[in-house]
């Protein structure tokens, strides 16, 4: 078995290299189900302790024990790249997984979103785990846990921009910004001929903090909260670092899985499989790339888009040729796409009308107690998919004011683009932010298309229309 596996890996690696896939050195680890599910729950071989991982582990393990699920692939973005194989996998399962993870690794290594991820994160997270464990000894398990609970509730609200010129470089003594308050709504009409300097509106100076809306809530709290102790800031830094590492994976879910599915299919076709192996592979493959009525299967959609791009660039239309597309350039094009796009631009640029229709995609909404199909227009389908992938699928929240009411209160704003927030969850998250910030927390959002302000003042939640 072990010899066969080695042979298979060698062969698959060779085929993958032949196709032009470019990956880190691979480290395949064979381990029992419990370990696979532990790593699956934590997202890493070693991570800090928290009950939520235990909950996740318990759920995954239970489904496995009941025969309901099976992780097909588990691969870590690192150099060398770790991939985990279940010790009960058949050879065919392993072949599929190896082909699949090689493409993932190629994606990790070459997609621009991943360019800043630390490839030594396995070690880094191990030491984070040790540090947090030592804080547990110092400050008590409960104390640390409560703090982690609060951070985990907002951990996705970081700024993952690849290029970030100055990391919260503004001074404590904030920049001054002029605010012009017009006397009447028509002031600007009278001022139309005047130069801006000498118009008649009242001017006064107001310090703004932060000077521009700040997307990185975690960092903002870390730098400006008056509540935190040193160890807590340390934990925040580490958690933010971990989220920065995971972020590109959140942003490229559809592409990454599509790319891996595309390549495992191409690679498996090159191998000499026996009839039995072929049937087993076909079953497994069908299980992975299967469309769903009530959600989007990233494996399937990603695969279809990549295949569509390849086809269109292999046999470009007249118009495309006019734009300079060379016939037969499909393969080259998808390699380019895997390098420069993320889910957002991938869908916006490459989900075509034909593809939406061919795949019978639709929009559905809750109508009464039923979820009903409401729209099949390809533009609306595409735009909805795009908006669901904005910010990795998380609502876009910025710090608008860190000194609201001149009282050090935190004023957040939700960048509303048609999708409302879950009020029940929001009212549970605000106390966590309060816990970190130490003063009342406000968040502005929209309910029923009207601006609403949610506030938590340390005792209870309030909601008022703006």
């Amino acid at each position: 078995m072990e010899k066969e596996l080695h042979k298979a890996i060698e062969e698959i690696t060779e085929v993958a290299v032949g196709f032009g896939l470019d990956f880190f050195p691979m480290h395949y680890e064979i381990c029992p189900a419990e370990i696979i599910y532990t790593i699956g729950a934590y997202g890493m071989p070693t991570r800090f302790s928290h009950w939520s991982f235990g909950k996740q582990f318990n759920k995954m393990k239970l489904q496995y024990d009941l025969g309901l699920s099976q992780i097909y692939e588990l691969v870590i973005n690192s150099n060398p790249c770790y991939a985990f194989l279940l010790d009960t996998n058949s050879l065919t399962q392993n072949k599929l997984i190896i082909a699949h993870v090689l493409a993932h690794c190629d994606f990790f290594k070459n997609n621009v979103r991943f360019s800043n991820t630390r490839r030594d994160m396995v070690e880094s997270m191990t030491s984070t785990a040790e540090r947090i464990a030592s804080y547990e000894k110092l400050y008590g398990k409960e104390e640390v846990e409560q703090f982690l609970d609060a951070i985990l509730a907002i951990q996705e609200h970081i700024d993952p921009s690849i290029v970030r010129p100055n990391l919260l470089a503004y001074e404590e003594e904030m920049e001054e910004d002029e605010i012009i308050v017009p006397k009447t709504p028509y002031d600007d009409l009278w001022d139309i001929d005047k130069k801006e300097e000498n118009n008649s509106a009242i001017r006064y100076k107001k310090k703004k903090f932060p000077p521009k809306p700040e997307k990185d809530l975690l960092l903002f709290i870390e730098m400006h909260s008056r509540e935190l102790e040193e160890w807590q800031r340390d934990v925040l830094t580490m958690m933010r670092e971990e989220m920065l590492y995971f972020w590109p994976q959140l942003e490229t879910k559809i592409m990454n899985e599509g790319w891996a599915s595309y390549w495992h299919q191409r690679i498996m076709r090159e191998l000499n499989l026996t009839t039995d192996e072929t049937i087993e592979y076909a079953k497994l493959n069908a299980g992975v790339v299967q469309p769903s009525k009530t959600s989007i299967n990233p494996y399937y959609l990603g695969l279809k888009i990549f295949e569509d791009i390849e086809k269109r660039y292999d046999e470009p239309s007249e118009e495309m040729i006019r734009m300079g597309v060379q016939p037969g350039s499909g393969r080259e094009k998808i390699f380019e796409v895997r390098e420069i796009e993320s889910d957002l631009s991938f869908i916006r640029n490459y989900l075509t009308k034909e593809l939406v229709e061919q795949e019978d995609m639709y929009l559905f909404e809750k109508k009464g107690t039923d979820y009903k199909i409401t729209d099949k227009d390809y533009r609306n389908v595409r735009d909805q998919l795009v908006s669901m992938r904005v910010n990795g699928g998380f609502p876009y929240i910025v710090v608008e004011n860190g000194d609201y009411l001149r009282n050090g209160e935190l004023y957040l704003k939700h960048g509303f683009e048609g999708m409302e927030l879950d009020p029940h969850y929001l009212e549970h998250v605000l106390p966590y932010i309060y816990q970190l910030w130490g003063r009342p927390v406000h968040i502005e959002t929209y309910v029923e298309n009207k601006p609403v302000l949610y506030t938590y003042d340390g005792k209870r939640n309030y909601r008022k229309a703006l």
Partner: protein
């Protein structure tokens, strides 16, 4: 590590047996679930899935506090994308509330698209809830009955010794000891088993007084008692009977339903049937006295009459109630009166009962479901009545 180093890949199989992380955090999670159960006891006590579980010993209960809250979109108010088989039309139903018509592969209940509802469901054994609850309760006026002199003898295996009869050998412990000892010598295996490894079960003879208790469950089934009132009563009787069972060998329960007249009914009828008409509570008390006279001799039984009503009694009947309740208390270990009164109405019966000073009289006004817990605690409160 293998010889493939030069080929840019490594295959390895470590010994993972010491990797317990998942289990350790699973334990943390379970601890939190336990805490949540403890903190939500008042809600749990009146949780319908428990009361209506019909003796199922493990029940699923929703535990809200274990959600991992995040700022997220309101699922029910958003648009979503799905994929059909090629024949989908606007207006087709793809999922129903709570139950998606078709779930994605490999996903559990959550695929359901119902974030508002996807709370964590913990499995709790009834016993767990029971133990937590009963820790807070105490039986009032526990009296020795004459027949309590009759003792039953029982043998309980409750000790382990190194010497004993071969027939009573404890195989599991013997093997465990052997493995441990062999492991210390280097090999964790069963053979050989030495004499020193043998473990035997031994028993104690315990004598328990044969005790009997009867609950006389009385309930107002007049028109004014609605589903909520009945459910509160039902929850109360459910836990009360269970609690008494831990104290007495046998606990019987008689159901007396009354409006203007009382009759003995089955449990089913007791909790489901409603009748219209006025209320004469004394009818139930007379019936209870009659039952005691016929079937439940106070010398042999510990009697627990408990009456649930909304307190709306015919005012002319209150005097009689007062007299009969006193009579009942002479024969009983305790008399419980639960009034389900969510709207804080004036209750003629309660104002009559306020005059009772007998410590056997326990009463509680239930205003919401949670109060069932308080009612139980108040009726079976620890150490307040002087003995």
């Amino acid at each position: 590590m293998s010889e493939n180093q030069n080929r840019n890949f490594v295959v390895s199989q470590e010994n993972w047996s010491l990797h317990r992380k998942g289990y350790q955090d699973q334990q943390r999670h379970m601890d939190k679930v336990k805490d949540a159960i403890k903190n939500n006891l008042p809600d749990l006590i009146s949780e319908e899935s428990i009361i209506l579980s019909n003796g199922r010993e493990v029940i699923k209960i929703p535990i809200r506090s274990l959600d991992e809250y995040k700022i997220r979109y309101n699922y029910g108010k958003s648009k979503h994308v799905g994929q059909g088989q090629g024949d989908s039309k606007v207006g087709d139903v793809v999922a129903r509330d709570g139950k998606p018509a078709n779930q994605g592969p490999g996903q559990g209940k959550k695929a359901g698209d119902q974030p508002g509802e996807d709370y964590y469901e913990a499995e709790v054994s009834l016993e767990e809830v029971q133990n937590l609850l009963f820790k807070e309760l105490e039986l009032p006026n526990l009296q020795k009955k004459e027949t309590a002199e009759i003792l039953t003898e029982k043998i309980e295996f409750n000790d382990i010794r190194k010497k004993g009869l071969m027939g009573n050998i404890d195989k599991k412990r013997t093997i465990l000891t052997a493995i441990k000892r062999n492991a210390m010598k280097g090999k964790a295996q069963i053979a050989p088993i030495h004499n020193d490894d043998l473990r035997f079960k031994t028993w104690d003879e315990v004598t328990k007084p044969e005790t009997k208790a009867v609950v006389l469950a009385m309930m107002d089934t007049s028109g004014s008692m609605g589903n909520f009132e009945k459910f509160c009563a039902r929850s109360f009787f459910f836990w009360m009977t269970r609690f008494l069972r831990t104290k007495y060998k046998t606990v019987e329960i008689e159901f007396i339903a009354h409006h203007t007249e009382a009759k003995v009914v089955t449990e089913e009828e007791f909790f489901t049937k409603g009748e219209s008409g006025g209320t004469i509570c004394s009818s139930a008390y007379s019936k209870a006295l009659e039952l005691i006279d016929q079937k439940y001799n106070p010398t042999r039984y510990n009697i627990y009459p408990v009456h649930f009503s909304d307190g709306e009694n015919f005012s002319t009947d209150n005097e009689k109630c007062f007299r009969l309740v006193n009579e009942l208390m002479d024969l009983s270990s305790m008399f419980g009166y639960g009034e389900v009164n969510p709207n804080n109405r004036y209750s003629s019966l309660m104002s009559t009962f306020k005059k009772i000073e007998n410590p056997k009289f326990r009463h509680y006004v239930i205003r919401q479901k949670k109060d069932v817990y308080e009612a139980l605690k108040s009726v079976f409160q620890k150490q307040e009545t002087p003995v």
